[in-house]
Every structure is written in C-alpha cells, then in structure tokens.
Symmetry: C2
Subunit: 202 residues, 2 copies
Amino acid sequence: MLRHSILEILPPELRKEAAESIQVMRFPPGKILFSAGEHCKGLPLMLSGAVKVQMTGISGNSIVLYRMGADDICTLSIGCLMTGYGYRAEAFVEEESVAALVPRGLFDRLMDQSAAFRLGIMESYGRRLDDLMLLVEEVAFRRMDERLEEWLAARCSPIHITHQALAVELGTAREVVSRLLKELERKGRVQLSRGRIDVTGL
Amino acid sequence: MLRHSILEILPPELRKEAAESIQVMRFPPGKILFSAGEHCKGLPLMLSGAVKVQMTGISGNSIVLYRMGADDICTLSIGCLMTGYGYRAEAFVEEESVAALVPRGLFDRLMDQSAAFRLGIMESYGRRLDDLMLLVEEVAFRRMDERLEEWLAARCSPIHITHQALAVELGTAREVVSRLLKELERKGRVQLSRGRIDVTGL
DNA sequence: ACACCAGTGTGACTTTATCACTGAACTGGC
DNA sequence: GCCAGTTCAGTGATAAAGTCACACTGGTGT
C-alpha cells in the first residue's frame, strides 16, 4: 500500500495521514471510472494501469481525448472538485488499474506541504494540455487516411478493435473508418476480419 | 503596481519579494507575446487585457485555441518553464494588456506559500482544459455553418474582421468562410464589405 | 492615374460526414 | 445442430467541408 509514485516521497506526518485517509482501489478493464454529468467523489491518482478519457458531443459522436497512466493525476477531477460541476467526459479503464483516491482535504494539505506532489500535479496538467492541443490540430487539419495509418502503425499487428471503436479513437464516423480500411486492404496493406485488423505492411 | 489580482492578497513577506522581482509589462494590441518554438523567459500573469493563443499545424493552417484575460496565468508558459521545451503555440495581444512577469524562483515560492496563488493557478488550468475539450468537440463534430453563425451572433454588429482571420478563429479554410458568409448574405442575414460584416438579423 | 496588394468570389474537384439499408458473423437457447 | 437476436461490416447516394487555381475589387501609396 502506498508503495508507489509521488506518495512514497512524502514527509512522515503526511505519509501517516495519507495512509489513513487514502483509499486504494483496483479497477478491472471495462470499468467506467466516471461518466459525463457525474460529480467528483475524490481525486484519482493513478498508480498503475491505463484509462482512456473520452467525450461525447451533442451530436452523439464520441472522441478519445487522452489517456492516463501511472503517476497521472486526473486533472479533470481536480476541476470538478474545485468548481463543483459534473464531469464533461467519461473515463474508461482499458488495462487493470490501481488508483489512490485522495480526498479533498488531503489534496489541499498535500498541495500545501509537498513540493514533489505539486510538481506531479503540474506535470499531469502539462501533459493533458499538450495532448489536447495536439489533438485539436490533428482533428482540425490532418487527413483521415494519414491519421488512421499512423494509428495502425503505432500498435502491433493483430489489432483487436471494431471499426466503431476505431472511429471514436480518431473522432470520425464508423463508415469512414470502414471505407478507409477497405481501401488499405485493396492496396494489400492490411487484412480485415470481424473485430480484427492484421497489418501486413505499412 | 501590483494593485490587482492574486498578487494583492499575498502575505507581507511575499509581497515584498514580489514587488522587487516581478516585472510588470504593458503590451500594445498586435504585439506577439511569444511564438512557436521560442523558450519561456518568465511566467506571464495577466492583470488586464486580452490575449489569444493560436497554433499553426504542419499543414500551415492555424486555429485559435483559447483566450486569456485578467487573472489568468499562462499555463502554457508553466509547462515550458518546467520541461524546458519551446512553446507549441503563439500568443497574440488583442487588447492593450498588462501582465506581471513572475520569475521561476518566485513562482515556486508562491506555490509553496500562498494557497490563494495555488488556487489561481489551478483555476487557470481548469479553464484551459475545459476550453480545449470543448474546442475538440466543436472541431470534430459540429457543422461549420452553425459555428460561424454562433460566432457572429456572439459579437456586436459592425464586426471588423477579414475572412482569413475568421477562418483561423474557427479552424477552417478562408474559402469555406467566404462561401458560408456569401450564403448568409443571400439569405439577408448579413451584409458583407471588405474587412467588415454587418449582422442584419440572425 | 496607375501599380500594387490584401481581401474576396467562385469553379472544379477531392475528402469527409451523414443517412439508409444490406448482409455477414457471432451469441445463446433449444 | 438450427434459429433468433444482436453486433459488426460494407456500400450507394448525397451533402458538407477542404483544397487548388485563378479572377476580380477596393484601398494605398506614389
């Protein structure tokens, strides 16, 4: 417990409080950490695993905004905690994850007393901002076929995903993904089957 | 000097240090606060005015990411200061602005010793994150004609802007804006002239 | 009065999004 | 095994948006 991450380098008094008030939770893949509209119950500090954060527009379409991994603090939750508004996005556990749920009071004390904790927070914010800026640029200006090929090239070959899920990754429509993939298959670059893409050469 | 904002509620010792090490600067409209690739020289804390932050993609197209106003701290600069990387975007002064340039050392001390300052930082980050998430959704899923009409409706009538600049606001191409505006003019909703749009009814 | 140039208009074409529907592949029950 | 229900994938038709190329126009300065 509390073996990892930012929390292990706290000064002794804080470590004690942390050990007492922090809830460490384990989330299985598929679990929804929070959904849109919901209110924040505590600040998740990721100790391990992978969580994707995605958002659904008024149109009903969704897009993956970014992913959180070990040592990330959920910046979205900080915002919700501060403002009291509900979440604007939803978080979906992709790989078995362990997260420490930091209550508000402790969070404030940590911010007050640990420079290392503050640094961790700032880094998480920085990463998120960067991710989102890059995403805006991608979505606004880059071509779909390029983005799709990059996405495919970035993972290892038997990729298990549906066209619908891939469309959410890229922020487009399922049909668009289907057509582009079919085109790639015609060119002999991938091989398609239900729920699976084999990359044969990019 | 230091009459405003977060800085006026600091404890006395910090106020003194702040007054000594902070440079208050005045920027005229049109001035570029920083551009892409540049390195961060100090943390701008906006005291008044308006600055727009925009980014240019590899394609050469640009998009306005968000705007900063009074009491905003430039979150992008925090990231640059921490990581040492250059800016990914550029900041353009729209209205005469006054900003306090906080050096790194003072920033760390402020974070350490002022809860109010920390809160201000977190709020700025929260706003930015929110702005960007909303923008991603807009760009990815919403129709251009709707977005254009909303943009027009949100300001008061003789709007002085070129189609090119409007395209950057919305993250699209100049031609698209020209055509949509022409269409609106045909419908009698706006009246177009060089560098100017009169909204006659939306 | 003329040259120059930023700003605008538009045709032709490509890419992407949307709608509507078909069929194919898995699932669970019987 | 066979069938019904469901999820996933393919595709035509059409509309919206982006790209490229080029013409025109209104203002500026000389």
